[in-house]
Amino acid sequence: MNAEFAVKMQGITKYFGDFCALKEVELAVRAGTIHSILGENGAGKTTLMNILYGFYTCDSGKIFVHGSEQEISTPKDAINLGIGMVHQHFMLVEPYTVLQNIILGDETTKIPGIIDYKKARRKIEGLAQAYHFNIDLDAKIQDITVGMQQRVEIMKALYRGAEILILDEPTSVLTPQEIDELIDIMHSMVKNGKTIVIITHKLAEIMKSSDECTVIRKGKNVASVKIEDTSENELAELMVGRKVHFTVEKENRKTGEVIFSVDRLTVEDDRGITKVNDISFGIRAGEIFGIAGVDGNGQQELFEAIASLRKAKTGSIHMKGVNITNTSPREMFENGICVIPEDRQKSGLVLEFTVAENMVLEKIGRAPFSRHGLLDLKKIRKNATDLIREYDVRPEHCEDTRAGALSGGNQQKAIIARAISNDPDLLIAVQPTRGLDVGAIEFVHKAIVGQRNQGKAILLISLELEEVLKLSDRIAVLYNGKFADILDAKDADENRIGLLMAGGKNDENA
């Protein structure tokens, strides 16, 4: 059946436990168009697409593909319906060639057990020509760029006969040139009758590539707009949304000396690509310095360089006059810097340890928690008891509970309790409210502002624009490894920052 809509999703609702990820979401994707799904991190974009691709089943709602209602409960169902998905993190076998990866799991055979490489190669070459793919079938995955790897993923989907292609944050790992090439490929695919859904929060790319855009915020539909009728400004406002702020009590106080400074810092990622490009800034005592930006613009590398987890290529980092560039996390801690890391389970907590053990992770070697290399288990436990009460970590009396058994919000509370109990001069908070519910977010925000009010310096790195705006005294917008601008909080608003985040020019703001 040749329907107007390639995909129609009606009243999609999905709960994870008590958390409502999607509520009555509608999506209508016209056949032969590029349709963007826009939203902040955690808005539910990927969940919606995972439902379409059969990774999750929705609790209620209907899915129509090419006009007929379908039940998609596994990715296999989706593939059979001609739906393909390219994930943010590629699923490729590194030592295999491009050709082998493309046919993996769907090998054409001459006689059972013998792969017909020639036939597969002809088919892929045909597809590559049709969509203007430049792809070397005999290169090994480990030797090609991420942009190429992405093309292999797209080719994998096309090879399986995908008519509808879902791309999850396709540009987050690409260089600007690779992004342009990807957009070209997308356009040629649409010309050949394919339908593309892309999940993204980069405004410029939506404007450049898409025909229509559905905006989702906190699991609900906000708007569906035609790109020709909208602007980056409008999309930014729709994405970030609410005019209403939950403001946090922030005392007006005079900031102190600059205690932490980064000078002309340049950092490369593992592939040798410059991710932080000649950045300089300083943070004063009693100030929250927020860094906003879309994921993948150098936040991670910047943080890792500050924490000495990654070598800075050039430039220096000073804490209270001490050069801590390329030293060690221990050195950073000794100089009064504590971290609330982005991934609490990976970098924040030792999940198999008890809460009490986790509460002393950085200072286990110090009195009163240990003397002469022997632990004082009573003091360690007492410390946890006090912090659990003060920061309301639940369940009550969880000193001896495995940290992994706590809920995400309580894990984060434990990390914040630990960081603040170290009494740092600089607190670095990376995505401190990722995945938390509203109550926990408020708690975290209050704790951070409380530190500021006590005259501590705070470096806040967050992908949540609202969070950066709400907490920061000054805001830097990281785009492509550079600060697009550094604004005073009073001069900043969602539109202006949103535009800068998406690479727009500051002066375009009307």
């Binding site: 929705c58 209620s60 971290v339 990976k346 970098s347 999940l351 198999e352 022997l374 632990l375 288990l377």
Partner: protein, 382 residues
Amino acid sequence: MKMRELIKKPATGILLAILIGFVAGAVVLAVAGFNPLEAYGALFRGVFSKPKYIAQVIIKSTPIILTGISFVVAFKSGLFNIGGEGQYIMGALTAVIVGGKLELPPGLHFVVVIIMAMIMSGLLGAFVGVLKTRFGVHEVISCVMLNWIMLYLSNFLITTEWLKKPGTEASIEANTSAWSVVLNSWKTSDAGMEQLANSNSPMAEVLLKTDFNYGILVAVLIAVGVYFLYKNTTKGYELRAVGINQHASQLAGISVNKNVILSMAISAAIAGLAGALTITGVMPHRVTQLATHEGYGFAGISVALIGGCSPIGSIFSGLFYSMLTYGSASIQSEVGAASEIMDIVIGVIIYMIAISSLFIMLANRKKTAGCAAGKRKAEKHG
């Protein structure tokens, strides 16, 4: 519900695994035409009917308890020390050299021997750690290679004039001053021999007919020491933290590399101690030419797994393992079934322990999976 809680306890899983192991052994025995009850009866008689049998089980358990603890130490830091064999040989070799070449007072000599053996094998382990942290060589690869390097190094050294005992395929013996045999000088003196020969006490039998030695005490001390290390010391805390979560440890200022090297060193030193105690404690107190490994290191992995990867647990599982292997000889002599039947039992036990986490998973599984899809189907049809 109560069943579920019970299944989740690790000890339950281990006991269940042991039970299944014996059942599997019984099935194999029955298929082969033997009466399983008779065979297991022979096994237990072979272990418990005479004090000297019990003593033998304890003597033979000493090295594998230690290689078991050795494996546990590395495992706590997230490392797979499969190099127990090589480290054991390093310990034994060092013990023979220090025990045979040095002249020291009794007691002190023994202490010097085991300390030197632990240092040498500890260095071997540290080398593995350095290879891993500096050059990214996986410890399993380097350990397996070192197992063979140590075997041939030992075989080579004991053919040299310096270490060879003339007229044999073996090394010189450790001097009696380095021995850890219980009451050794007394029981070999004339008065002692006479008294033992005329005594009917079980202890006399043990002393006369076995190499009963202090090794087991050292093994227990090491087990308690390692338990204390992890429970009560800063180092132990760091070693465990690094084993569970490198990222968080590193960010908290705990050096991953240093602790990986240290963990391998401690682990290897304990495996080396096992080798040294065999030299000091058991006849013939020397190293012989070997075609392949003796298997103490590998047995240690089994012991550690059966012992729930705990140092104290390794004492009991080491005794258990030793009991099965020692008693299996009686199955062969009394019932006629091959003693390898016990290898099957041990193999099955380890498989069962390995998959006991699966039992836990099954017990944990709630009936949520497929629920949403089912509900939707129901709605559609309704």
